[in-house]
Symmetry: D2
Subunit: 163 residues, 4 copies
DNA sequence: TTTT
DNA sequence: TTTT
């Protein structure tokens, strides 16, 4: 049955990247999507939407985007439930992203602070596409070093390129 | 910012229609959307997605659709929170429907039971469109009588026609 | 970049199934999507949207759906152009379907005419999912025989099952 | 019936703003949406999607966005036809935008060229929302003056504010 | 060239 | 707390 979600918004914090026991990468993140209308107090509110993304795109998101980054999300709504520590059933509604598009980097994540005089915020047509391939059980090698906040072309082998 | 959701699924129960203190109709409903893939046990799971719709379309939904009805939803994701009786903050993610499309009636809601030999389940191009008009404070008159499960053309004045 | 389309409408005619030189199945079809509003003459118009689907789902669509069938489409807009016989460039805008959902069979395609007293139009959760796998170059075997208009469960081997 | 399109892409040229005989503003524009995959030559292609937007949002788009601007579009697919000068029927498929979101200004349209050392390309949560109100037959007052390419807050009366 |  |  049809289940399709498209969002454009900003990361409320850095993505939270983890690995399953079998080594599959998964990142949780929340995006703030401002509403197109004002409330009765005349204020613009936002919706804070929890999202998940799996595998390579999860690592890419965690490595290149951070708090404040503007992203586009294409995915579906998923619901699940679990029993919390008080034995109460908790119901979760979240968006499982098939792909995340980088619209604008905003964070600096420990490196050269963005902004200043260098003409920041350019857009590259970068997109995480979830290949939905079978989970591979290797440990992923974590990219380190300069986060390349300005999103200029970077010189790495195709294999490592997230986009 | 962009926030768009499209769903096709079945009502898990009859819509829950209420009125605000100022007389605005609002209906809550949950739709089950079957996933397009099987889990590791080979079973097809579903997502149970909570939705809200306001005003006239809320009444139409409540009057014409019921548990098991197949509907299409066009809307956006909304998040909100409240403090429960234990003083704990509870976060809600739901879909606010702009319009609901009737794809197939399935329930009988007190009237002539659907099904049998009469060729049921016909589709009419019926759609609730949320006009987003200012709330009107009148009490809505509740349609009663024949639920018209077979969704044949019905003969009522234009003013009452939900589609 | 984001490009997402979701449609629900009826096939204006039987899907047109063909095979590329290398044996890849592709089906073209048009769906009529009724507009949610009336024009100035008070008439409801429709949009006639050309769609394409590839591989297995193309064959499934051609084998199980026909003129008048209600379907849901999840896909993206694609544009292309070609030079016609007069040497004039022609621009095409169409929807490439990732998946098509069967909402209601309507045609009979040579076999037992649908309808009559047998409770027609039931919905099964059937969906063509485009696996985006590499094209396979075999000739597909064309299913023949009973079109199963009522969409009841059918007893064929898993390999042939479209859903 | 359901008909929903969401796009993120760049304007291929400045929007083309016109007025109907009765004074209703309408803007035509094309956005280039890069495909998320490469073709067999390893090149990334794009789809060039024709769009229309009506009334106030049309004027806003024309006044604030130009060739190269990154926009998000939420709308529906519309088809229409007309007879060309050779008396041949021509079929058109385009997107009617309900709203356009400004993701990044790119053009300068006669004013201070964007870019340079000033940290350009910031995102504001600006969105044209088509109110679908009855056409008003006044001549719209055309905003003039500095196009504010950097999209900083601008100080004009609420009535003129497009977002 | 269009569906219910 | 879930639909076919």
């Amino acid at each position: 049955m049809l289940n399709r979600v498209v969002l454009v918004g900003r990361l409320t914090k850095d993505p939270d990247l983890r690995y399953t026991a079998s080594g599959v990468a998964v990142a949780n993140f929340t995006i703030a999507v401002n509403r197109p209308f004002s409330n009765q107090q005349g204020e613009r509110e936002a919706d804070f939407i929890n999202c998940v993304i799996w595998r390579k795109p999860a690592e890419n998101l965690a490595n290149y985007m951070g708090k404040g980054s503007l992203v586009g999300v294409d995915g579906r709504i998923q619901t699940r439930s679990y029993d919390n520590q008080e034995g109460k059933r908790v119901y979760i509604t979240e968006v499982v992203a098939d792909s995340v598009q980088f619209l604008e980097s905003r964070n600096s994540k420990g490196g050269q602070p963005q902004g200043g005089g260098q003409g920041s915020g350019g857009y590259q047509d970068n997109q995480y596409q979830n290949q939905q391939q079978a989970p591979n059980n290797n440990q992923y090698s974590q990219p380190t070093g300069s986060p390349n906040d300005n999103m200029e072309p970077i010189d790495i082998s195709d294999d490592d390129l997230p986009f």
